[in-house]
């Protein structure tokens, strides 16, 4: 059924956890299909067999069999299995097993600052410490996230707009915040979707297991956020670690040059 779903448009999955979600998607849809088809066949057969032109005498008691009760119990059992066997554990691993940069694990840390209608992406750089953000310093052209250059931790930070890049095979830990309204951070190819709610810092993580290559992956906004909601799309590239580092250096140099210009 996975092939069918892909034919119908299900995006490729390039994350470590997406496979289990797709698997559950398949089980649930098989379950739905079997119920609907079985139930539909019974329905159509009943309509034909008991049409008034054919029935001489109505049986007011109707069905006496206990089969329907067994079927209802079977539905309950399957639902319990889907819930306890799959959904709850998958969810638990999403919201509890975060990568732990503090314990020295290699982790790509990212802070996404959503605003109408762009994704600002803030990287902490080699020191793994995000520079201080100050709302008063926000300038939509030169400093959309309000990065405070006085903070030493900010020296190796970069920010980019609508251009999310991560190295392949390293867990990514994203912290989501919003400047204005509720957005929803969605990476269809990573099976990631998380509301971004102003006033809250929400973490989300994934492990990209292959590069995006020529495929045009995107970060999408999935929550109505205003008039430009439909175009709140950013590029999303998964690249080799070396390629990522080269891009990072380039952007760092570009930001330094811009800062000098301002000076």
């Amino acid at each position: 059924m996975l092939e069918l779903f892909h034919k119908l448009g299900l995006p490729v999955d390039a994350s470590s956890h997406g496979g289990s979600m797709d698997q559950l998607m398949i089980y649930v849809h098989w379950f739905m299909l079997i119920l609907f088809v079985g139930w539909g066949l019974f329905f159509v057969y009943t309509l034909i067999r008991f049409r008034s032109s054919r029935v001489k005498k109505v049986d007011p008691d109707g069905i006496r069999s206990h089969a329907p009760t067994y079927l209802e119990v079977a539905v309950v059992v399957v639902e319990v299995l889907l819930l306890i066997g799959f959904s709850i554990p998958i969810w638990a691993s999403r919201v509890e097993d975060f990568p732990k940069p503090a314990e020295g694990e290699p982790v790509t840390q990212i802070h996404v600052v959503a605003q109408q209608f762009v994704w600002n992406i803030h990287y902490p750089g080699p020191d793994s410490i995000f520079g201080r953000l100050n709302g008063e310093l926000i300038d939509s052209e030169t400093n959309p996230i309000g990065l405070d250059s006085e903070d030493p931790a900010a020296a190796d930070d970069i920010w980019v707009v609508n251009d999310l890049r991560v190295p392949v095979d390293i867990p990514v830990l994203v912290t989501l915040t919003s400047l204005d309204v509720i957005h929803c951070f969605s990476l269809p190819t990573m099976r990631i979707k998380q509301d971004v709610i102003p006033g809250m810092e929400i973490p989300v993580w994934f492990l990209p297991v292959r590069e995006s290559g020529d495929e045009k992956w995107q970060v999408a906004c999935a929550q109505l956020c205003g008039v430009g909601h439909y175009r709140m799309a950013g590029r999303f590239n998964v690249v080799k670690e070396a390629e990522f580092e080269a891009w990072y250096e380039e952007r760092l140099a570009e930001m330094a040059a811009n800062a000098d210009d301002d000076w």
Binding site: F5, L8, G9, L10, P11, M21, M25, V28, M32, F36, W39, F43, T46, L47, F50, V55, V58, D59, P60, D61, G62, I63, P68, E72, V75, E79, L82, F86, I88, I90, W91, R94, E96, Q116, I138, D180, V181, I182, C184, S186, R191, K193, D195, I197, P198, G199, M200, I202, E215, K216, Q218, A220, A222, Q223, L224, C225, G226, V227, G228, Y230
Partner: protein, 591 residues
């Protein structure tokens, strides 16, 4: 009030400010049907936009020219698209389906089916309709506000809804005279209307049942309306409070839903904040999930009545159906946060809401199974109402089943806020509830008018409507699987993952426009049959419940010539030892 008195009533008292539950029911029905058609028209405009999002694509036919001023170049703007989206949802739910299912069918049928002369509180009943009417006028007038009608979705999530359309303006008049503020004011009227109506229904059912009509002899429709009324009574007040809180945020500068430090388009908002956007979502969904059952229970009630009558046999498992909807009503209050899995929810809370969501699917399965099994052993008459009632079953089935992958948090991640969700709840409400409501109109039309609607036109209405609804809503599951988000002005043109399924937008557009076209036979049939339909007696379907014991139409202010007495269960069809195949509830024991 006796029949004699009613002759002295002026036209205005009789037809406009009427206190007769039947007139009020019909007022609700006609107003709601008009709103539903408006909701459909808004959707036609949106569907055209989604099918033709490009600047060079063809402009909207007919409406593009008719509404030249509102539609520059005959096309929608993103602002207007968002307004139409918010208003389509609001109109369909709060001004269309609920008023028709509860206001119209509940009002018209509950007193008749319990054998009462009227609702317990006729004046309250009248005020309920007029509060609804004012709410509707306020909602409609919001289209004329600067910036247009509310555009923050029918869910109205803050902070967006707080700040949209001049919510942060220094001018009080700008903040007040805006689509969003009018939406909130309109909602307060609509909610108040529902509260007045629900109290009336509850008291009528509990207090005004005629002699012999015990609870377990009530028609299933009355049970459905009773549970619905309790849901409205208990679930709406939180949203009414939330609506007033959002209005306060907009009008008097409170911060219920605004956190500190917001920066909008590069400017600091400058409010102290401290509020929580999530509070709104909890209050909203605490109403809006029970609201789903407000939309579906009356439809189940209608379908149960029609099926019993057209199979000529009692409902199978009437008691289990009653217990199921009581349980369902209770459970519907503890599933709301399954709409909020992506708002940073931990394992325990998400497990709780996933579990309650799976549990609530059980009573629905029981009710639907009981209705399908009721067909077995019957003698099925394919009357026009029966066609609609039968179609409800598989359509609601699709709607219910597709709720499963959304109710499991792990699959919800990919499907959340995609067209899969839109497909799911539309299958429940449109091919589900709305088909049942149509069936109810065909079924009880003879009671209200003394005439039947045309069966030929009924069939011309039924089949294309059923096909169009599926053409519109089934592709939504495919789009959702592809991850296409809802509420996109360009139908997904911005996104690469949407490209493989963009063609379905044209299919859905054609479905929507054809759907409007095939409602013409219904509209014609409805008005033509009032005067020219085939005349029928008080009980044309040979039914058993009490409304058929009253004349058609029932006597103004009183319904029955003499108050009926009930001798048996609601569905005594094809009873052994009985000459005819139905025994009305009010007919004394024979032999």
């Amino acid at each position: 009030m006796s029949d004699h008195d009613s002759h002295k009533l002026s036209f205005v008292q009789r037809y406009i400010f009427s206190q007769d539950h039947k007139v009020i029911g019909i007022q609700y029905a006609i107003t709601a049907l008009c709103f539903m058609f408006l909701g459909l028209v808004l959707m036609m405009l949106m569907r055209w936009q989604l099918a033709y999002p490009g600047a060079d694509d063809p402009s909207i036919p007919i409406f593009g020219k008719l509404l030249k001023n509102a539609l520059p170049g005959g096309k929608l703007t993103p602002e207007l698209y968002n307004s139409l989206g918010a208003m389509h949802g609001t109109i369909m739910v709060f001004l269309g389906v609920v008023p028709l299912a509860v206001g119209a069918f509940g009002n018209y049928l509950v007193p008749l089916q319990v054998g009462a002369g009227d609702m317990a509180f006729p004046k309250l009943n009248m005020s309920s309709y007029w509060a609804f009417f004012i709410g509707g006028v306020v909602m409609l007038s919001s289209f004329l506000m600067p910036g247009g009608a509310a555009n923050s979705g029918w869910t109205s999530y803050p902070p967006m809804a707080d700040i949209a359309q001049g919510g942060l303006s220094a001018q009080f008049s700008t903040r007040l005279l805006s689509g969003q503020s009018f939406w909130l004011i309109g909602m307060v009227f609509l909610i108040s209307s529902s509260l007045l109506g629900s109290i009336n229904t509850i008291v009528t059912i509990i207090q005004l049942r005629v002699k012999g009509l015990t609870f377990m002899r009530l028609p299933f429709m009355v049970w459905a309306q009773l549970v619905t009324a309790f849901l409205l009574l208990l679930a709406f007040p939180p949203l009414e409070a939330a609506g007033l809180m959002q209005l306060a945020d907009r009008l008097v500068g409170s911060n219920f839903f605004l956190p500190a430090g917001l920066v909008v388009t590069g400017e600091a908002v400058g409010r102290v904040g401290g509020g929580s956007p999530l509070l709104w979502q909890h209050l909203f969904w605490f109403l809006a999930h029970p609201e789903v059952y407000v939309l579906i229970l009356p439809a189940m009630g209608i379908v149960a009545e029609i099926i019993a009558n057209n199979t000529r046999k009692p409902l199978r498992g009437y008691k289990s159906m009653v217990y199921s909807i009581l349980f369902l009503g209770f459970m519907s209050f503890i599933v709301w946060a399954h709409h909020m899995f992506l708002t940073d929810m931990g394992t325990v809370i998400s497990a709780f809401f996933q579990t309650t969501t799976m549990i609530i699917s059980i009573p629905s399965v029981v009710v639907i199974t009981a209705m399908v099994l009721s067909l077995w052993g019957g003698s099925i008459r394919f009357t026009t109402p029966m066609l609609f009632a039968l179609a409800f079953l598989p359509m609601f089935g699709i709607g219910g089943l597709t709720g499963l992958p959304l109710g499991l948090a792990a699959t919800d991640v990919h499907l959340h806020d995609t067209y899969y969700v839109i497909g799911h709840f539309h299958y429940v409400v449109a091919p589900g509830t709305i088909l049942a409501l149509f069936g109810g109109i065909y079924y009880w039309f003879p009671k209200a008018t003394g005439r039947k609607m045309s069966d030929v036109l009924g069939r011309i209405h039924f089949w294309p409507t059923l096909i169009c609804l599926n053409v519109i809503f089934f592709p939504m599951f495919i789009q959702g699987m592809a991850g296409v988000s809802r509420r996109l002005f360009d139908g997904g043109a911005t996104y690469t993952h949407a490209q493989p399924v963009m063609w379905t937008n044209k299919v859905m557009m054609m479905g929507a426009w054809t759907l409007a076209l095939v409602q013409i036979p219904f509209i014609f049939n409805f008005f033509w049959s009032i005067r020219h339909g085939r005349k029928v007696g008080p009980n044309p379907w040979e039914a058993t419940t009490l409304e058929w014991a009253a004349p058609s139409p029932p006597i103004p202010h009183g319904n029955f010539e003499t108050p009926p007495v009930v001798y048996r269960d609601a569905y005594a069809y094809s009873q052994p030892g009985c000459a005819k195949d139905y025994l009305p509830q009010n007919e004394p024991e024979v032999g």
